[in-house]
Every structure is written in C-alpha cells, then in structure tokens.
Symmetry: C2
Subunit: 558 residues, 2 copies
Amino acid sequence: MVTTKLIPRTPEAVEPPLLIKSILAQSLRYEPQREIIYRDLFRMNYVEFNKRVRRLANMLTGLGIAPGDTVAVLDWDSHRYLECFFGVTSMGAVLHTVNVRLSPAQILYTMNHAQDKVVLIHEDFLPILTAIKDQLTTVEKYVILYDKVYTDLNAVGQVPAGFSCEYEAALRDESDEYDFPDFDENTWATTFYTTGTTGNPKGVYFSHRQLFMHTMGLSTFVCGYQAVPFSSTADVYMPITPMFHVHAWGFPFLATLLSAKQVYPGRYEPEVLLKLLLSEGVTLSHCVPTILTMLVNSPVAKQVDLSRWKVIIGGSALTKGLAKAALELGIQVYQGYGMSETAPIMALTQLNDTERPLPIDEQVDYRTRAGRVAPFVDIRLMDDDGNFVPHDGHSLGEVVARGYWMTQGYYEDPERGADLWKGGWLHTGDVASVTPDNWLIIADRTKDVVKTGGEWVSSLDIENLLSQIDGVAETAVVGLPDERWGERPHALVVLKPGTDLTADSIRQMLRDRIEADHLNKWYLPDRILFVAEIPKTSVGKIDKKRIRTDMKDQILNT
Amino acid sequence: MVTTKLIPRTPEAVEPPLLIKSILAQSLRYEPQREIIYRDLFRMNYVEFNKRVRRLANMLTGLGIAPGDTVAVLDWDSHRYLECFFGVTSMGAVLHTVNVRLSPAQILYTMNHAQDKVVLIHEDFLPILTAIKDQLTTVEKYVILYDKVYTDLNAVGQVPAGFSCEYEAALRDESDEYDFPDFDENTWATTFYTTGTTGNPKGVYFSHRQLFMHTMGLSTFVCGYQAVPFSSTADVYMPITPMFHVHAWGFPFLATLLSAKQVYPGRYEPEVLLKLLLSEGVTLSHCVPTILTMLVNSPVAKQVDLSRWKVIIGGSALTKGLAKAALELGIQVYQGYGMSETAPIMALTQLNDTERPLPIDEQVDYRTRAGRVAPFVDIRLMDDDGNFVPHDGHSLGEVVARGYWMTQGYYEDPERGADLWKGGWLHTGDVASVTPDNWLIIADRTKDVVKTGGEWVSSLDIENLLSQIDGVAETAVVGLPDERWGERPHALVVLKPGTDLTADSIRQMLRDRIEADHLNKWYLPDRILFVAEIPKTSVGKIDKKRIRTDMKDQILNT
C-alpha cells in the first residue's frame, strides 16, 4: 500500500459505516406500498416489513441475543427469512443460515461450530432437531415457525415443549420501534457452511460491508449494464435458489434496496412455483438447471405466457439444449457463476451492444457460458507456478479472484483458509479461459484438468468430444501420471448396447475430429477402457478421484 | 458505536479499498468501443481513454508529482478534464478543480491555499495566469492545454515561455503502462473552493471512498429506481454544468463506470451545445435554468426533436413556467438538489409508480420540487434548538445531512468546519419541509427565514404572494427584530409605473389571499416600504443582508 494524504476530519463530522440497515432504510423511501409475498399465505408492504424487522430485533433481544451472538435459521424461502436477513444482522448479531440439506450429523457440526445461541426453526425440520437436540452445545432458546398460523388463528402462539415462543405471536407482542445502532462495517453479518468431498463442512462468513458492496456490484451489473435487466419499476423477484445458499445469491438484498415486489415460494413445489409465477407476475428468478428443466417440461408451460420471465441459472452448467428449449418458450435464460466463498456473484450473462440483437441460436452460445466477469470482481487465470495466464479465450488457468465481497477465510480453520487465499488470491478450484471481451468460460475443476507437457487440457472437453461419437453412452476422462509428459489423459467409456466400436476405432474418430477442430493432438487419450458403468459420488457426479486411485492400474494395463 | 464481533481475516486474504481506479477499470469490461467525444475536435473509445489516463499519470510523475501532491486544472469541460478525474486521483495525487469563474485574486488565494504543485491550464485562461503568476507560492510546473492541436498538427508540442510541456505532445511521448497502486480509501482525491458572502473561499474535499460511494448512490437512484432513467445501453451523456463545479455533479464518474458514450462540449456556446446534442444523440444533461431557458427559447429548438433529451436542473430553482415550456418541447426536465459540501447529490426528481402516469400539468408540481431525498442520504430538518422537525410536508427546519459522501470539513479552516458539522450533522443553510413520501421542498435560506412567534416563515413564500398582486414589479421580504414576536416580516416593493397601489391596499389584498390559502396570519408583513429598486449583490441576487442592516431604520420608520 502506497502512503498518501488522507482527508482531514472535523471532530464532529460523521461518515457512516456501510451497514445492512442502510439498505433496509431505502426500502421505505420511494415505493413503500410494494409488496412482499409468502406463497398464498401472507402478504405485506414495505412499511409493515420494516416494522416486523424491528419487532424481530426486539424479540431476539428478549431472548438474550446481544451484538456478536449467533442466531440460526432453518426455514424454507420465506418473508420470515428475509426479516432475519435484515433484523438479525442490523442489531449486530450474526445470522447463521443453516443448510437443511446436509445430514443431521453435519447440521449438528455446523450449529455447534457456529455457536448458535437462538434457533428459529420451521416445523418441517423438527425431526432433524429431535435427532440432534441433545448434542447441541451452545443453543439456549428455540423459536417455532409455523405456516398454519396464516390460515388458523388458533395456531398463533402454540409452542412445542422446550420452545420459547411462536414467531408470529412473538412478533405481534413486541414493539415496532428499534433503533438499529451504528457499528464497525467489518462486523460479522452472516455465516453458513459449505461441504467438500473430504473433511468437516467449512464456515464461510461475510461482513456488513461485504454484503453492502455485493448489493452495489449486483445493482451496477443488472440495473446499470442491463446484464439481466432489473428495474424495481418493472420487475418482480422470486428466488428459486434457497435463501440458506449464499443468501439466495444476494438478490433479496438488491430487491429490498429497490423496494421491488418480492415473492417467496416456501418449499419448492412445481405447481406452487408455477402458480406464483403467473399470479404474482414474477419476472426474475434464479435456480439450478433441474428446476428449469422441470418447469420447461411441465405441460402447463406451453399453455401460459412465460415471455416476461428472466431466469438465471447457477449451481451447475446450463446446457445448450435446455437454454434453447427455454428461449423457445419465451423464457429469457442467463447463467451466473460464483461460489459460497464469493458471496457469490463473480460472473453473469451480459450481452453487449453487438450480441444483444443476435438470433436465439447464436445467443445460446453466449448464454451457456459462465458469464461475463462481474463489475468490481478482479478475476485472473493462474498456472501451477502462480503466474497469470493471458485472457486470450483459449489459455487455461485456475480462476483466482479478489473483490469487495470475498470471504476472508474459513471460520476457525486457518489451514484451509490459507489454502483458499494462497498468494493473496482466492482460489476457486475451477479451471477456465477468459476471452479478451471478458467472457469467462469454465473448462474443468483444477483437480480434474489434465496437465500434459506443460499444457492444461480440460477433461470435460475430451468427454464432450467422446460423447459426440455414435455408440458412446457415457464417458469419463482422467489424467494419470506419465513419465515423459507429467500426465496423460485416459478415458472410461460405456458403450451403447449393440455397437461394435473398438478402442482403436474411437481413437481414429477422435483423431479426425481433433484435426478438424484444430485442437492439439495431446487431447487424444492414451488409453480407452470399456466399462459397464462410470463410478459416481453419492450426489450422482462422476467420481474422478476414485477413478484416479482405484482404477489406475486397470486403466494403465489396458 | 456499539461493539460487535468483526470478521476474522486469513493473513494472505485481500479486501481491496474503494478507489477511483476501480471505477475506471469497469469501463474496459463490457462496451470498450463506446466513445468519449470533445466538441467536433476529438473522439476516442474507452480503450484509448484508459491508455491516455495512464500516459497522463506517467507525464505527471515526470513533472515531479508524487502521492499527496496537488495538481490544479483550469479547463473547460473536456476529455482532458475527464482524464484528470481518473489519472491524477488514481496515482494518489489530489486534483484541484479550479473555479475559473472566481476573480483572479480569489483564484490566486485558492491555488496557494491548496498548495498546487503542477498546473494544467487551457490557453483561454492564460490572462488570469499572467495576472497572478508572480504570487503563486507553490507551483513548480505548468502544462498548456491547446484546442488547436486537434486541427493543426504543427501546434502539437508548442510551449509558451515558462511552461514544461503541451498536453497532447506530452501524452504522445509517454508510455501507456502505469500500474495504479492500492492505497487507503480515505485518501484525499479532489478539492475545490466554494465562496460565501464573506471571508475567503472555503476548500471542500473528497476521498476516494466518498466519490466511489457517490457514484454508487447515483447509480442506484438513476439506474435502479429510474429517477432520471439512465442506462449505458440507451443513454448518451453530456454535462452542461462545469466539471470544476463539484465534478459536474459526479455524473462523469457514473458514465465512465457504465462505459456510456460521453460528450464534452468545451466552453458553453449555444450553437455548439445544440449541434452536439443533435449530432451525437445526447440523452442526458444537467445545467442551470439559464442554459435551459436559452435553449428552449432558441428558434432551432422548435424545429428539432428533443424528445429523447433528459435534463436535470440545479444551481437555482426550476420555475414552473420553464418546466412546462421544456416539457411541451418534449424535453424531460428534472430537478436536483445539492451543494459543493455534499459532493453534491442530496435529492433528485423521482416520480413514483403513482406520479409517473400523471399528465404534464400535474407532473410540473413534482418536477419543480428540489427532488426526492437520494438513496443513502440521511436528511433531517432541524430547528434552532437542535431538535428534529417532523417530515409532514409543512413544518420548516434547516436541512441537515449525513451520508457517505459529505465533505468532512473545510481545509485548514477548523472554525467554519465546526460550524458546518455542529452537533454531528452537516448544516446546509437551507430551510425546507419534507413530505411523508420523501419529497424535499426548499423554502428559504436559514439566514433569510423569518422567525416569528416560534414559527418559521419563508421570506420567499411571502415574496411569491406579493408578486402575484397586479402592479407589483419586484419585492423583497426580510425579517427584522421585534420585541414581542422575536422577528416580524417586512417588505420592500417596487411598483410598476402608473399603478395606484398603497401599502394599505396591498396589505388588504394580502390578507384576503392569506385567508383564501388558509395560511397563517403571521405571513402578513408588518410594514411595506416602496423603493425604486431592490438592493442586489454583484451576481444579481437580492442582497437581504444589506437590506436588514443598511435599510433597517428606514423600514421600521415607514
């Protein structure tokens, strides 16, 4: 850091910190009558919302929460969750958005590790709680969240044994006055856990300043650059990526800043989603490809007008087939790229002046890329020696990043935190190229890329080539050690029944294709092993780690 | 400040400071081919612009500028000025945007006070320099800015005696590589001087963080809330408020962030402005009412299509007459409110969901208000005892503010700085009301408001009532001390020739009007003094200070 001249300050002068309460305050200024909706159960405007956020802060204070304490939430996407996004953080407490998809044992680990003090839990998750409650070491109070209170007044205030209160009754009984204090903008605001293939879940965390700046960056991209055009005047937002997953990509903060109409769908049920989409006029959502596939294939989709709906796909890659199917239904599909550690936005589809007028078929190529690198995110491609690789659209390197909203480590895990930030850059573990015009194209995971003769070859690229051969049902490509080249690619292939392909004929077809595509000859796998099935992980992903270890000898002896 | 838990940081983790270079970096990402234009003399795209900004930093380094040094610019609105906005600040130096409309003696004062080290000056201002050069105490080097270099290659590199170099030749000879360093975001970025009725000009100043956040706030307002709709994809920006005046309201930073097309008109000449407006397709400008009046009254205005032009008025109030005339030509007029001390945006016209569809006649009422309070600006109305006055649309109080972009004092003037920030709020000296739906309505200056019987009465409101009486040519209302009420209003009136109005008849008409408008009876001036002319200041404003002192006895003896 260079030494410069700082601005002098008059003793009484004030420059406020960047806090989440400042985002909340804007929601009352311009369109406070706009609504926040929960399924067909509950609706309120921003005036009411602001009051309820304050009632929540009073309720938590009553339950013993002070600045620095952690409040855990286990809920579906709801207005209650949004209230916690603002209320818990603005009182100076930490919001732990519990990933309810983890195993009970993992949930237990994360709740003890985060030192949760008060837990807000939807009744659907009581079985999980029952399984782990005895082993929770820091929790002092429980609050029950019921959906039935919105249709059955008798349910308001019903409390299971061991619980302190029911959410709606408690809110009703509290004052709607609460003066959110000023504090350091580097205050811990949220925390949640991310899992890898090994070890305990890792706790990532974000400060008020980081979430404030993420909101500003997202706003610049979607409002200013019209990446995924979003204007509070015309748009209605509904998340279909859980709020416990990186704050539903931070969009709830932006929608609240702009006092846009927001729709929270609770548990994701196809008919409820589609009904809300139409009845509330939803124009912007984000989801994983599975959800979009389900909606696109729904018989109803062809009978209704989805042409105002913009959907950002994340989590897994958007395929060209799905993109085209959605575009043909009038749905505008985009892709986003990010991870828990990056709060999450690192890239998002943004069609520039030349790309925007292109026909759908040509747009598909752009819309299925990871996206253009987002404003204020500094992305580089790094090789194994820590050198930067050029952004020429074909050179591969690991995606490393800096920016205003990157987790500064893993909670109480200095070793993995140091790995994440090795050399002062956040390592994503993804291998990609970046085009000179700022498109990020993900090629592989660092651990799966094949490093051969000083070049990085994407195992996914080779799999794509193989999958285009008639008769190939499924394939997996891994790199294995090679004395001369460091590593060489090898392929597992599952053949379709009745085909007469041989390893030699496949290699010949690949060789022709590699030549035609002007690819380098090192894309050609050394060995092709025919197998009955490809090893998969518990969540159905190809288990390349297991292939590289358990099947190594079998492959090399082919 | 409440004590909270801060986020822990891994030793190698990086969270970058909020710097102006980060705004500049975005301009290359999405639409680098868009252009920045200077009159009909020069045009470049953002790629070239980024290179020139770095050439400038190298040039200044060569002239001895180091972080913390001050660089002064005297220029019309130009691409060169924009280059200084980014280049001077991003190298860690301070940019002094010299107000060339001050007297040579005042300019001399500001340049010595700011400790300018290198001066960039347009040839038009050489006569000023000649007058003061001998008395400049800190300047070491001069750079000449010529317009003729864009049409006459022989002029490139011509240097007057005592000058170090000519801007274009110097840029041409420098490298376009310059690695702008990281430094503290509270680094002093810009400074300029504001004048009052007494004393020396006061130096206000802004940090990188403040200008960054001003850009974010403006972006949220105009891109997100569509206050004055601005999208880089559809809009072309041309300032008609000088860049030395609060960085042309900060719009050049936003336009660069969004890589919007920008047009710089040089010295304001009506025919040049109108020509650029049409030939470059300008859609967004800001100016003082005088300029808009001039353009609206130009015979050409009625022959051309100005329906894509949005104009924000500031500096003085937009009258309903001018607003209507502009709207009828298809020009969308808006009003902004701010001051040098507030960087400047505090309020801007923003029509909400209900107001936007209103007919022009009704919109005029909204568009002539000071505006809706801007995002992240915390405005309060304060009475003489430091208490807050309710935002009920009629109660008056002094406008005081806090926010992310307020000057933290006056340079080396602790006393006036302490006055500005008395009680921890920035005092604007303006008296206003705020409606419950966030409209700011300026009523008067604090020193001119009449404080009578515990109530604040706007002298401007009484002047407005008086000016509606047939036969009244001009009027000025001031408050004078009164034993019983503290102060009472008194009026000076200039009659139109041939009228037979008397003080009594005017008071009677006023009394009727006050009754009809349900105004309070304390609006009625105690005395009406007929005068041949109203005392004015050198810039043509009513000199109420002089009226209150020099004419006090004369008024009270009426």
